[in-house]
């Protein structure tokens, strides 16, 4: 009798189970043409353009994105940038960006803030990637220790007056031989399973002048 009861129970369960299944199907329909979307800005570091930028009759490289992509507003970390750093318009794939300009010679630098899951390849690979971007040769693992500085920075004061320290790795590199000369000052830290990169690239004199402000900026970084 128990077998019969179990069978009835199971069959009812299966009936309910299969009655709830909905199959995904390919569909087709015809719609009137909609107004073309405003094109996006494809301003990317290094002047790279998107594959479909400029394609089509309505391309306008100066237009802003309709929807900011990875925006600082919903990032897991927040910070306070110096007022002299001009926020760059929202560009997809990057959490935030700032343009730094030197008044006397109009030289510029750009700070980009990005986040990637995991440790994204480790210190040596990241440093060599940045070296490659400004035309420097890669370094070996033996010289890594001299290139990489470790910083422990107290974060901003919390609600109860406490300051939570955050560990950063800091690298500086300059290629005076390139035309124009280029320098990179980058710091990165781990937060919530992601590696956050704060990379300042531009004219060496400007990077050098802005280094204290950059270090102060790192102190303002805190979880949202």
């Amino acid at each position: 009798m128990r077998f019969v009861r179990a069978s009835l129970f199971a069959s009812t369960g299966l009936l309910l189970f299969f009655s709830g299944c909905r199959e995904a199907k390919v569909q087709s329909y015809r719609v009137p043409k909609e107004a073309p979307l405003p094109p996006l800005s494809f301003e990317m570091p290094g002047g790279m353009a998107a594959a479909n930028a400029g394609a089509g009759p309505n391309a306008n490289p100066t237009a802003q994105p309709a929807i900011p992509a990875a925006s600082a507003a919903d990032a897991a970390l927040r910070w306070t940038a110096p007022e002299s750093w001009a926020p760059l318009p929202p560009v997809a794939m990057r959490v935030a960006g700032y343009r730094l300009t030197r008044a006397d010679d109009s030289s510029t630098a750009e700070l980009t803030i990005t986040a990637f899951p995991g440790d994204v390849g480790g210190d040596l690979a990241n440093i060599n990637r940045w070296r490659g971007q400004i035309g420097l040769n890669p370094i070996s693992a033996d010289t890594l220790a001299t290139e990489l500085q470790r910083l422990r920075i107290d974060g901003p004061e919390g609600q109860e007056g406490e300051r939570k320290p955050r560990d950063f790795k800091l690298v500086e590199m300059t290629n005076a031989q390139s035309s124009p000369a280029q320098a990179t000052l980058a710091a990165y830290t781990e937060h919530d399973g992601h590696t956050w990169f704060f990379k300042l690239t531009g004219a060496p004199a400007l990077i050098s002048a802005e280094k204290p402000a950059f270090l102060e900026f790192l102190k303002t970084i805190q979880p949202r």
């Binding site: 009798m1 019969v4 009861r5 009835l8 129970f9 009812t12 369960g13 309910l16 189970f17 709830g20 995904a24 199907k25 390919v26 569909q27 087709s28 329909y29 015809r30 719609v31 009137p32 043409k33 909609e34 107004a35 979307l37 094109p39 996006l40 990317m44 570091p45 290094g46 790279m48 353009a49 998107a50 594959a51 479909n52 394609a55 089509g56 994105p65 309709a66 929807i67 992509a69 990875a70 919903d74 997809a92 794939m93 990057r94 990005t114 990637f116 899951p117 995991g118 994204v120 390849g121 480790g122 690979a125 990241n126 060599n128 990637r129 971007q133 590696t195």
Partner: protein, 424 residues
């Protein structure tokens, strides 16, 4: 056979089953409440309640196994239990009519929840000021659209839902689609339910990214797969690598992403113009809405919101509908079986987002609550009426007894004392 049927009825009318199901539902709700910390409200609804079984993967594998009955299973059996009990245990009497009505309301409430789970559709409609739209977009579901843009007046669209993209099968290990409207075959090479696009030169070495595709966006960009997010305020943005294959061979591979940054990727084939895009699933409507004005009012001297409202023009050619509607908090627009609620707004950027809800069973909870309320009122009314009737009867009897006793005491005692009438 008769014996089996009796056993079946006995099982489904059992009060033990009710108690077990209620206990299971308590455990399910408690577990889901704890899981909500990690999964968020959508994840919990999908994995615990809108399912027949709570599935967990065997550690180290991708094989899901049922570990606990889900909301549909427990709710479905409770519903059957209640219906069978009504049919076989309860007998209709006027004295119990309130209980019957209350239980009918409960049955309707359970059915309403089931229908809502099965049929309700939630979409969002983002309207920029001055822009007219005739479709809303899903909050979570995405779709691959192959759009034939050749004709100057209309587009022919072929849609593959994301569930189909995620499905495994076919020679490539993923879905393969040959649609009569398309002169080529589409093969899904890879699918990532959540991934962020990134320029190739910005991708750190050893990061898990997708190799270059031969066409479009994927030549210079890649995507980095991310774990699925169950947070209510975050969307998973899917990505896919697809290959189009014509009669003469491959037309190339494309990287598609649902990220709003990635626009439809155009290409030409066989004298026709096409676009490929991965986007939030669209739901087209026979009417359109145009945002005329949005207002975000605050109380004077403060930043405290006082009012969010969107003034829209509703137009439907066939139905001759052309009117202005003001949508604000607690004042949604109901039209065409849909309800448009004011959902989000960014007055600085000049856009408003409406939540579009389609729920054919939206009236059922109201009706069931009215039924339950009426049932309880009737049942309590019957009890109260019976009680007051008895009480007045008792009082009348007591008065009569007292009168008899008074008159009896005024007269000389009879030879034999009359026995008073016993009252209940």
């Amino acid at each position: 056979m008769r014996e089996n049927w009796d056993e079946f009825i006995k099982f489904f009318t059992s009060l033990k089953l009710t108690v077990v199901l209620l206990a299971l539902s308590i455990v399910l709700i408690f577990w889901a409440t704890l899981a909500q910390v990690e999964l968020g409200i959508w994840g919990v609804q999908e994995q615990f309640f809108k399912t027949f079984f709570v599935l967990k993967k065997i550690p180290g594998t991708e094989i899901p196994v049922p570990v606990f009955p889900g909301g549909y299973f427990i709710g479905g059996l409770l519903l059957l239990n209640l219906i069978f009990s009504h049919l076989y245990r309860f007998r209709f009497t006027w004295g119990k009519s309130g209980i019957q009505l209350t239980h009918s309301g409960l049955i309707l409430l359970l059915l309403g929840e089931l229908f809502t789970g099965l049929w309700q559709q939630d979409y969002q409609l983002r309207l920029d000021e001055g822009v007219e739209k005739n479709y809303s977009e899903s909050f979570r579901d995405q779709e691959l659209a192959i759009i034939d843009t050749t004709h100057p007046d209309y587009d022919d669209v072929v849609i593959l839902p994301d569930r189909l993209l995620a499905k495994r099968g076919g020679k490539s290990g993923r879905a393969e689609v040959q649609h009569p409207k398309l002169p080529f075959r589409l093969v899904v090479r890879d699918y990532y339910p959540n991934a962020i696009p990134q320029t190739r030169d910005q991708v750190p070495p050893n990061a898990p990214s997708v190799p270059p595709t031969t066409m479009g966006f994927g030549r210079d960009f890649t995507v980095i797969p991310l774990p699925l997010s169950y947070r209510q305020d975050q969307s998973n943005l899917s990505a896919a690598v697809v290959e189009l294959i014509g009669p003469d061979g491959s037309l190339g591979t494309w990287l598609l992403s649902a990220h709003p940054f990635v626009r439809p990727q155009p290409f030409e084939y066989a004298g026709r113009s096409f676009e490929l895009s991965l986007r939030f699933a669209r739901n087209y409507k026979p009417f359109s809405l145009k945002l005329l004005e949005l207002r975000h009012d605050v109380y004077p001297g403060t930043e405290i919101p006082k009012n969010f409202s969107s003034r829209v023009r509703l137009s439907e050619a066939g139905a001759q509908a052309d009117r202005e509607v003001l949508i604000y908090m607690n004042n949604p627009l109901r039209y065409g079986g849909l309800t448009f609620y004011q959902y989000q707004m960014d007055s600085a950027s000049g856009y408003s987002v409406l939540q579009v809800v389609k729920n054919p069973s939206w009236m059922l909870p109201y009706v069931s609550c009215i039924l339950m309320m009426a049932g309880l009122l009737i049942q309590f009314g019957i009890s109260l009426f019976g009680f007051t009737k008895k009480r007045s009867l008792t009082a009348a009897t007591a008065t009569a007894t007292a009168a008899v006793a008074t008159s009896a005491s005024a007269q000389p005692p009879p030879a034999k004392t009359a026995k008073p009438r016993r009252t209940r």
